[in-house]
Amino acid sequence: MIKVHIRSFARFRELFGDRFEVEVCQPATIRSVVQAVGQRNRDGLQELMDGEGKVKRSVILLINRERITGEGRENHPVAEGDEVAIYPPVAGG
């Protein structure tokens, strides 16, 4: 198991907390980290994952402040000590 630091914001902060750690099995991916975050709240998984168990496209993800985008982003590796940020769609300006 590895520990990953999570930061979440706005609606997701209210559901999951603003800063916390999750433990996931190796090899860890974005998908396994998002699943671990979703399990912190009764409604969490349906906020983050679609009906097929994939991370919703509307969920914005960063590892160490770099956005992780593209079709294969769920399989992007996550390492011990990484900071994963989870956002709902932005609404500034």
Partner: protein, 133 residues
């Protein structure tokens, strides 16, 4: 100037600071909390990433439109109706580039910068949906 702040800012003062002899056009955008029956609005940001994004957007506006100056000030924290949310000032030798640059900056902020708004009314609260949801 790129700044994310909890403090009120002075639009006239920012415009005055942006003036310089080479800039024949200064285009500004001022976003204000609209009276939609709300009592107040909380703005939240992932500040480190939002600031990094604003610097990137400024760099892109300069590269794409040839503008010479881009200032962006964005408030966070608790705001009331009539408060300023964001000010963008884009300076260029001529107006066309300044208008295009300013529109580009606000569109990019709405699309990608990690800032969120929560509105409070007498009946409760809600997160404002993004334009790109």
């Amino acid at each position: 100037m790129i700044r994310i702040t909890r403090e009120e800012f002075d639009p006239a003062g920012l415009l005055e600071e942006a003036r310089s002899a080479e800039l024949g056009a200064l285009v500004s955008f001022l976003g204000i909390v609209r009276d939609d029956g709300i009592e107040r609005m909380d703005l939240e940001a992932h500040e480190e990433v939002a600031e990094q994004d604003l610097f990137r957007i400024r760099k892109e506006a300069i590269a794409r439109f040839g503008v010479h100056r881009v200032d962006i000030v964005h408030r966070i924290g608790s705001l009331s109706v009539g408060d300023h949310i964001v000010m963008i000032i884009v300076g260029a030798p001529h107006r066309k580039a300044a208008f295009q640059g300013c529109e580009y900056v606000i569109d990019q902020i709405k699309e990608s910068v990690p800032i969120w708004k929560k509105e409070y009314t007498a009946r409760g609260s809600r997160w404002v949906p993004g334009e790109h949801e």
